[in-house]
Subunit: 413 residues, 2 copies
């Protein structure tokens, strides 16, 4: 493979995670150190930064600050939800990208994001091939949802899972402090896949499992749910429920959006989200004391309790993307191939074709969900537990998180 | 002072904290090691355990498990909200307490709780004096609300404050990831005192301060609030607001309970709490994207990110209570006297009379709140920052919290 010299751009896209910046750092550090890469640019807000010629010169950053990206949550370069058009319909954006690539002699583009970016990256790559501009394009995955095709798991999932399991363990202690019982409903992210809701069950490893866990892979039945809760509450005087935000009835309607008469009597959509809605329904039907807790953004930005395994693998994904691209690869996403035989976890990177990854959603296998549809099996625990191992060792200042403080020097101010 | 030999009881009361068990451990460990204390009993669910003769024999616990109480959130012995009557009106409970004290030769009673317990402890003490039963009674404080009279601060506050500041710093990163702006409202505990809401401002020490902070010490004005938010949103394209759950209008009505027409058009109380309510009002009035986050129980049970200073001081409060009682003290609460001159924090224990502590609520001084009533001053930061210092060093198992697992052997099964 011929050596390709030129600059690189890294962009970030979609919802942030605790470790997406660890991947970005993997790209940036490796690219800065690579003799074939002449300059490293960070696109402000993903592809929008490319289109708008808003590129940060990463070479002007302090090396120590860059390293702090390992423990800095959210997308430090800024994210976007902008979707470029199909090039056959409208190639305006593609022409502009080409213009910017030429302006800065960009020969490598690393896109750090979730499901949305793979098709997009693939389209850009195909356009560049069509117009004869040599450029290698790689996907660096992130998503707390863990729903990417092919890879064993996604960078970002494990840290969110660890936050969720830790919080569930702590709430377990808090929720049974009084001798008057309580039903606690914990709402967890994951619109279409139940990986994160299932992670609540990891708290069982330290004896603090939620009693019931509902995933969106299984249709939700309100009567069955209330009977489940009631049975446990009657037996234990207490019940902790973990629910995915994406639970839905058999007809596909999200429970969070369903206008049930049990909500406020007028069928108004609830502001407070699913946890509050379910807690209220339980209260009305069973009379028990209730508490709804929504883990909200905290689960995707709780970097102080991130998984070391996740941080290390996220960095490795970024590093591997650069090394593979320089070695001649293009149109690939870096994923992981893992084994867990005999409780021993091994992980190595593996390249997947962008076109294969795009537009698939990997859900929790049904055989990892119990027959009652209200919990996960040991197979799920065995899968997820190795991923959350290790201390984040996040740097602090005055005992508070010390995040990276980048200068973000624009090439075109 | 004559030596008093006999058993001791420790009870816990009120809402739990991340470090109340560190105080209980301070009592239990010190009492188990003290030759004058013949047995150490933990009352199940506070005074209700005494009344119901439900006492755990702490001498039967494994020493290592007991030590894990330092990092175990919530009230491990169980809490209660039971209020005993005034002895002049109804002395049934007092007779029963005396009966139990005599049965187990209890000469020391340590009550680990918040505002509610001091008057109660004092009444029990007076009753025992009246009937001529020698018994020393000490209050061991806890409350995330930090509203106890006399003491510089309360065990439990700092760890909740650290959780809040850490979470606010992380949300700060997450909330500005898109170039399309967002207003984020973070709801923080503290019904009558704004110490915890003020703690959100500690995130400013690492450059991640919320833009606006509203405390219940200042009357809330919705129009002023919306103007504040709008001004910042227009200037920065983004706004993070921290609000105490206890903010109220000038007439005393809690904002969370007020039925404004801006809520759902029908004046229904919102299920989702204050954050969702304010977020919705902001959305309706300004059209901005909004997100409401309620830190909920997590802020009082987030032991994995507890303050080491808080853990150490909480333990010390329990230890000091036992040592002082054995030395002859009674009817006292253990508090702290601190200095912060030149940025150097020193702390020592100090005893306060139970009768003085009872029924006062210490609020944030008005001079620590800015003139606009939407933030705290540097004096607040200087006060609170030393308290959150130091790593919790919480033990883990499979990278999840390893809490104490007590046998809880009842003396009267």
């Amino acid at each position: 493979m011929e050596q390709l010299r030129g600059a690189c751009i890294i962009g970030q896209s979609g919802g942030p995670t605790s470790v997406i910046n660890a991947s970005a750092y993997g790209v940036i550090r490796t690219a800065l150190d690579n003799p074939n890469i002449t300059a490293v640019y960070g696109a402000a807000h993903g592809i929008k930064g490319v289109l708008g010629d808003k590129l940060y010169d990463m070479g002007k950053e302090d090396a120590k600050e860059l390293e702090l990206l390992l423990n800095t949550p959210s997308s430090e370069l800024g994210s976007c939800r902008y979707k470029i058009a199909d090039p056959d319909v409208d190639d305006t954006d593609y022409k502009r990208i080409l213009e910017i690539f030429k302006k800065y002699d960009v020969r490598y583009f690393f896109y750090n994001g979730g499901n949305g970016i793979y098709l997009e990256s693939n389209k850009i790559s195909k356009y560049m091939q069509k117009v004869g501009y040599e450029c290698r394009i790689m996907g660096v995955p992130k998503t707390i949802d863990n729903d990417l095709f092919g890879t064993d798991h996604c960078p970002g999932f494990a840290s969110a899972a660890k936050y969720i399991a830790t919080s569930c363990a702590e709430v377990y202690k808090d929720a049974r402090v009084y001798d008057t019982g309580m039903v606690t409903v914990i709402e967890i992210m994951g619109r279409h896949a139940g990986w994160l809701a299932g992670a609540a069950a990891l708290a069982g490893v330290v004896g603090c499992a939620p009693d019931l866990v509902y995933l969106p892979e299984v249709d939700f039945d309100m009567d069955k749910f209330l009977a489940d809760v009631d049975a446990i509450y009657k037996k234990n005087g207490n019940c902790i429920v973990a629910v995915s935000e994406g639970i839905h009835y058999a007809d596909g309607t999200f429970v969070s959006e369903a206008k049930t008469s049990a909500t406020d009597g007028f069928g108004h959509a609830q502001l407070g989200g699913l946890a509050a809605l379910l807690a209220n329904i339980i209260k009305e039907r069973t009379g028990s004391k209730v508490r709804g807790i929504e883990l909200s953004l905290l689960q995707r930005c709780g970097a102080h309790v991130a998984s070391r395994t996740d941080i290390d693998e996220s960095f490795l994904a970024g590093k591997t993307a650069v090394e593979a691209a320089v070695a001649g690869e293009t149109d690939k996403m870096v994923g992981f191939e893992c084994t867990r035989e005999g409780g021993k976890y091994t992980s190595k990177t593996k390249l997947f074709n962008l076109s294969e990854v795009a537009n698939f959603e990997k859900k929790v296998p049904l055989e990892w969900i119990n027959a009652e549809g209200n919990g996960v099996t040991q197979a799920f625990i065995d899968y997820a537990l190795p991923l959350i191992q290790g201390d984040a060792k996040a740097p602090t200042e005055h005992s508070l998180p010390r995040f990276a403080r980048l200068k973000k020097v624009l090439t075109n101010p």
